[in-house]
Symmetry: C2
Subunit: 318 residues, 2 copies
């Protein structure tokens, strides 16, 4: 009998769905942070994330269905046994993360972060002119599920959208122009908004160099809701302090949690949220992940084809 370890924050109706898909299996529910090395070593299948260090290339583990879209800790050599199938949750976060990034962008454009600071100081202060997204060209770097969700929102408000992707392919309807990553430098100077939704891979590490911030408009707003290591902390601080760009909103940092003594916290015109754009903060996320997990569990047990199998070379779904 196969053991399925579930770390998803499930309710009874979700359990019923998973157990119907994995009929004949033994289910262990340990909650989001309840995994132990013993539970992980006894699992044939894991639905949810566990600390990578607990896996130790367990030869028993046949399927690891993550609840994250990011796969970085699990594609490191030696973490998973070579026969373990790794699937991620791409597709579950588009709505939540896209909306969060969009709200951050509007907050910065309308200077609501500064008005909030003024409110705390009991100051009735006018910070002057603002801009309208309808007049903006928005560059979306990483135009997968999340990037497209964000692009749709920007387009709905009248923005001109440019998507940047790794591989040539069709242009989704939310994108007015599509270009490849190697063309990034040529489009950066045109953007009023640069929004990044890149996963943490070798290719995306420190992508936003000082030179690239210098290539942006000094009125540009930078948003990062992908992975924090796409920008080195000091490079971002310098870009904001020296006025290379106007403002930034980040849900991710190089080091998380961000240490209390980090200089990032107090940078003018930087809005920080603590990696909360996804999590399970919109009900939509858990529903989508449970559905995907049930489908992949069933397919795995029956030898069918799984969705969202991760390519260990790129960290993306294949």
């Amino acid at each position: 009998m196969k053991t399925v370890l579930v770390t998803l924050p499930v309710e009874e109706r979700h359990k019923a769905k998973l157990e119907a898909a994995g009929a004949g299996c033994r289910f262990v529910y340990c909650g989001l942070n309840g995994a132990t090395p013993e539970l992980v070593q006894q699992a044939d299948i894991i639905l949810g994330c566990v600390p990578a260090g607990m896996i130790q290339a367990s030869p028993r583990l046949g399927l690891l269905q993550l609840y994250s879209a990011g796969t970085d800790p699990y594609i490191v050599p030696g973490v998973l046994d070579e026969h373990t199938v790794l699937t991620n949750a791409t597709g579950a976060y588009g709505k939540a993360v896209g909306e969060h990034a969009f709200a951050m962008l509007l907050t910065l454009q309308k200077k609501l972060h500064r008005y909030r600071d003024a409110q705390r100081a009991h100051a009735w202060t006018d910070f002057g002119s603002v801009c309208s997204l309808s007049d903006c060209t928005v560059l979306i770097v990483g135009i997968g599920d999340i990037g497209q969700s964000f692009a749709r929102l920007c387009k709905a408000l009248g923005a001109h959208t440019i998507g940047v992707k790794r591989r040539p392919g069709g242009c989704p309807p939310c994108v007015d122009e599509l270009c490849l990553t190697e063309e990034l430098d040529s489009v950066l100077p045109r953007a009023d908004v640069v929004a990044s939704f890149l996963p943490g891979t070798g290719a995306t590490r420190a992508l936003y160099t000082a030179e690239r911030f210098a290539a942006m408009k000094d009125s540009a707003v930078f948003i990062n809701c992908g992975r924090g290591n796409a920008v080195q902390t000091q490079v971002l601080i310098d870009a904001l302090r020296s006025g290379l760009i106007a403002a930034a909103g980040i849900d991710v940092c190089e080091t998380e949690p961000l240490p209390a003594d980090s200089p990032l916290w107090d940078v003018e015109n930087l809005l920080i949220t603590p990696h909360v754009s996804g999590n399970f903060h919109l009900p939509d996320i858990l529903e989508k992940i449970v559905e995907l997990s049930a489908d992949n569990l069933k397919a795995y047990l029956e030898g069918g084809s799984l969705r969202n199998i991760v390519d260990f070379e790129t960290g993306y779904k294949k």
Copy 2:
């Protein structure tokens, strides 16, 4: 020769436009805050706002073309001579105020005001679940130019929109349901968002009573970008402190500027901006007002028909 006093913050190209429309007139440009009682008393036409107290029912003043949509100080008996034509700037603020209100709403729904406070405290704190506008019913009280602009943005993000208006009439495409002000109490309990864009008239004063806040969902977000006297300060404080509603965002207060010792500043889950949603903070506003002013100046001088003539009974354009 007629004298035209202009208090608009015009550039040279705007002056050229106005002077072409008012050929043969003498133009005096005094800037936003440069009006004096003498300048006002010498004016046959005023393009822009001046302190109401300077007008003193000047018999010379034939046309007062405001740059505001609100008309409250000017419709008070005795301010304007009975033959003075009063026109307002309805139509110029829809985009700016609609977008500001929309940004406030998303900030509150995604808890970015609280994340900003946490950032200031260097705290990496997760405030939990958020909601999506796509799951919300949005009540728009005052569905004129500004309300419709806001409604369009909400609908673009998937919200269900209910417009509330004074008089029966056609249903604009941005509104899924339309009802009359007297039906307000019956729709309040359905709303996840109540957004108010009412002008300051006798009929709208203290419209949002404690009973009406109690009728709203306790998860509701209240937005006021109309006039501050639609809600009494203490009623709003009590509604937020006692949890009758979840959060509020206001660009207007009963007393403006809000005194530094007002208890409003520190109310949990209240976001305050200092009446900045309009002003001239989007370039779009001044362009629209100059165009309207030029058109109305020409029409007035030629005996044609003017746009946006204010009805002194209601304070709205006729």
